[in-house]
């Protein structure tokens, strides 16, 4: 045990004395998160709107004027036909379209119901989301005004439709992805680099020719990173919650458990890489090409898996990150518990056990 503690102490010295490590460990997660903070702003100002008014009555005119009068929107384009909408979007002239149904005012008075459709250009998902919210609040305000002057009890129904990026991805959807990528990077890349560094220096030879058991060396190398990865996960979550108002609907304990499980899976991948790579550079390349790319591309982080070719969909099943992102979204956004996430959890456990077994088996006690 004393040997182990001595070993772990040494690892912490390495980490705290290497500026590059410290940056990857702490600078990068914070930078990443804040980058999102700047990229995804919640403020909108004078956003260009398009109008398709099939009714052209006094009610639609009032609503259009109200929207145009607000500081948030300017009416930029008026079309007569549904078919023109896409062309206008493609030119990028407007960010959203308001479509009034035929006979809007009549419906409102006779049926106490009116329909307005908001179509957004969702290539900028967060802006699209915000536009919908703002339009909604202006129209609701109008509805309240109507109801307070008469007791009709009208209801204006707002339907939203997305163009281009039908599955709206916002910061809430990105955050679990960012967290997954960072944990993968820190855990897998940093461990593989720290083990190969000893190979490069030649100190691995001395460690091998010492009474330390291979398991002690591996666990000693990995232990500090478990600890640091947990801190990292915490930092990301706290920033997510405080800066972006990210909800954590589900159980914190379950979230912690799943995170540690994923960290362990990533660490064993790191050990596995270090058994193949002889140099720090090789370890870095393998981590980036072999782990980061699949994690970013095949985990639903950026691209929807459902629209990928069958082969890629099949491969994505073997990416631990994919399952972890599902779990994270489940817990944080939907607030579901283990009853709904047991399948993904079991898959992660199986992967972790398999990878640990494999990396211990492949860990060389000799130089060949």
């Amino acid at each position: 045990m004393k040997r182990f503690i001595g070993f772990v102490k040494k690892e912490f010295y390495h980490i705290f004395r290497d500026k590059r490590s410290m940056f990857i460990l702490f600078g990068m997660p914070i930078a990443q998160i804040l980058l999102f903070g700047f990229a995804i702003t919640n403020e909108i100002n004078n956003v260009e709107l398009g109008i398709l008014d099939k009714s052209k009555d006094h009610e639609t005119l009032k609503i259009i004027n109200k929207i145009n009068a607000s500081e948030y929107f300017t009416i930029e384009n008026v079309v007569e036909n549904e078919n023109e909408i896409e062309a206008v979007f493609k030119k990028g002239e407007v960010k959203a379209f308001l479509v009034f149904e035929e006979g809007f005012a009549e419906n409102l008075h006779a049926l106490h119901k009116g329909k307005i459709q908001v179509i957004t250009d969702a290539t900028e998902p967060n802006t699209a989301n915000t536009i919908v919210n703002y339009v909604q609040s202006i129209i609701q305000h109008y509805q309240q005004e109507l109801n307070s002057t008469s007791d009709m009890g009208v209801q204006i129904d707002i339907q939203t439709r997305m163009f281009f990026n039908t599955e709206l991805k916002s910061v809430f959807n990105f955050l679990p992805g960012v967290m997954t990528v960072i944990l993968m990077l820190v855990s897998a890349m940093m461990t593989s680099i720290s083990i190969t560094r000893e190979k490069e220096l030649g100190t691995m030879e001395i460690l091998l020719v010492s009474p330390l058991k291979p398991v002690q060396v591996v666990v000693g190398k990995v232990f500090p990173y478990i600890f640091l990865s947990i801190i990292n996960a915490l930092v990301i979550l706290i920033l997510g919650v405080t800066v972006f108002g990210m909800p954590i609907e589900g159980s914190l304990i379950l979230l912690a458990f799943e995170t540690v499980l994923f960290i362990i899976t990533a660490l064993s991948l790191g050990i596995l890489i270090s058994t193949i790579a002889e140099t720090q550079q090789a370890a870095m390349m393998i981590s980036l090409m072999g782990l980061m790319l699949p994690v970013i591309l095949l985990s639903e982080f950026i691209f929807p898996i459902s629209s990928m070719p069958d082969l890629l969909q099949y491969i994505s099943h073997f990416i631990p990150a994919k399952w972890f992102i599902i779990i994270l979204k489940g817990i944080m956004l939907k607030g579901v518990g283990l009853i709904y996430l047991w399948k993904e959890t079991v898959i992660l456990i199986v992967m972790a056990v398999f990878l640990i077994a494999l990396s211990i088996k492949k860990y060389k006690i000799r130089l060949e």
């Binding site: 004393k2 040997r3 503690i5 001595g6 070993f7 102490k9 040494k10 010295y13 390495h14 004395r17 290497d18 220096l201 030649g202 100190t203 030879e205 001395i206 460690l207 091998l208 020719v209 010492s210 009474p211 330390l212 006690i365 000799r366 130089l367 060949e368």
Partner: protein
């Protein structure tokens, strides 16, 4: 026996790094493996320290088999690999402490063993190992290899790339350790260091050329060597190579070492030969061989043989 090797052979792909090597190191001995880069010294060290499997042959260290009892060996040997394998970002003190803990001991426990060496670097104990000079790194690496009081000490080229002063200091330390009874196997490409070992093995291209004590090796060398001196060194070498029945002509410090291929050598004839070729201040004197002379003689004979066979 502290170390035994029997018919050890090891190949990498097509290259035979170690070719059927056998020798023994007695307890308390300071044994030197002397040979240039690529002779197979490091491979031998790695086989003995259980880092590599030999293709053929058997070996034991401190009575343990290098294959079966590798765990025991790893507990009882000290190993200093070719590069000074230290943690560059840890201080002198932290490095030493780390190696002490992983071997389950403390600096205090075996301090008297490393004291002589460590006091020289102690003033810099708060300095990171990466910032030490070559000589100091070498001393620290030795301290780290010694901290658990190993039964056998393996030093793979501890003096390579180190200046002559540090090299001399290092050998003085090895001598003192040897007096304390620690069996040491050390390798070096510097032939002049051979004389400081109890026994040496001259090794080249995976084969042992000779094993014996340095003095025996020199005594057994029968070839008479002549120190030849003249003003123009380069021209002297060229002309000596033209002298009939010459065997070897090698520059050696300020002299040229000359050997003749038969017994009928007459210095006067050579002197005449050289002065006819405009050499000034010619001097030809018999001298005793050094380990390097013997090494070159043996290496040359080994090289000559296969071509003779082919012819």
């Amino acid at each position: 026996m502290s170390i035994t090797l029997k018919n050890i052979t090891k190949s990498y792909k097509k290259v035979t790094a170690v070719d059927d090597i056998s020798f023994e190191v007695k307890p308390g001995e300071l044994f030197g493996l002397i040979g240039p880069d690529g002779a197979g010294k490091t491979t031998l060290f790695r086989i003995l320290t259980t880092l590599l499997f030999a293709d053929k042959g058997e070996a034991t260290v401190a009575g343990y088999d290098v294959v079966k009892d590798y765990k025991e060996i790893r507990k009882s040997v000290g190993y200093m690999p070719g590069r000074f394998s230290l943690y560059q970002d840890l201080t002198v003190e932290e490095n030493l402490e780390f190696f002490a803990t992983i071997f389950g001991t403390t600096i205090e426990e075996n301090y008297d063993l490393i004291k002589d060496i460590y006091v020289q670097i102690e003033p810099f104990k708060k300095r990171r190992a990466g910032k030490l000079s070559g000589g100091m790194k070498q001393k620290l690496a030795l301290s780290c290899a010694l901290i658990h009081k190993p039964k056998v000490l393996f030093l793979d080229e501890p003096t390579t790339g180190v200046d002559p002063v540090s090299r001399k200091e290092f050998w003085d330390m090895l001598k003192r350790l040897n007096d304390k009874g620690i069996t040491t196997l050390v390798s070096t490409p510097y032939m002049d260091e051979a004389a400081l070992c109890d026994r040496i093995a001259l090794i080249q291209e995976g084969k042992i050329l000779k094993i014996d004590s340095p003095s025996n090796i020199i005594d057994q060398h029968e070839k008479q060597i002549y120190n030849v001196e003249a003003k123009d060194m380069y021209q002297l070498i060229q002309n000596l190579k033209e002298f009939p029945e010459n065997e070897s002509v090698y520059a050696f410090g300020e002299f040229v070492h000359y050997t003749h291929s038969n017994e009928n050598f007459h210095p006067e004839k050579l002197e005449k030969f050289l002065s006819e070729r405009d050499h000034k201040n010619i001097s030809i004197k018999p001298t005793s061989p050094s380990i390097e002379d013997v090494f070159m003689d043996l290496a040359r004979k080994k090289d000559v043989k296969p071509t003779e066979n082919e012819a």
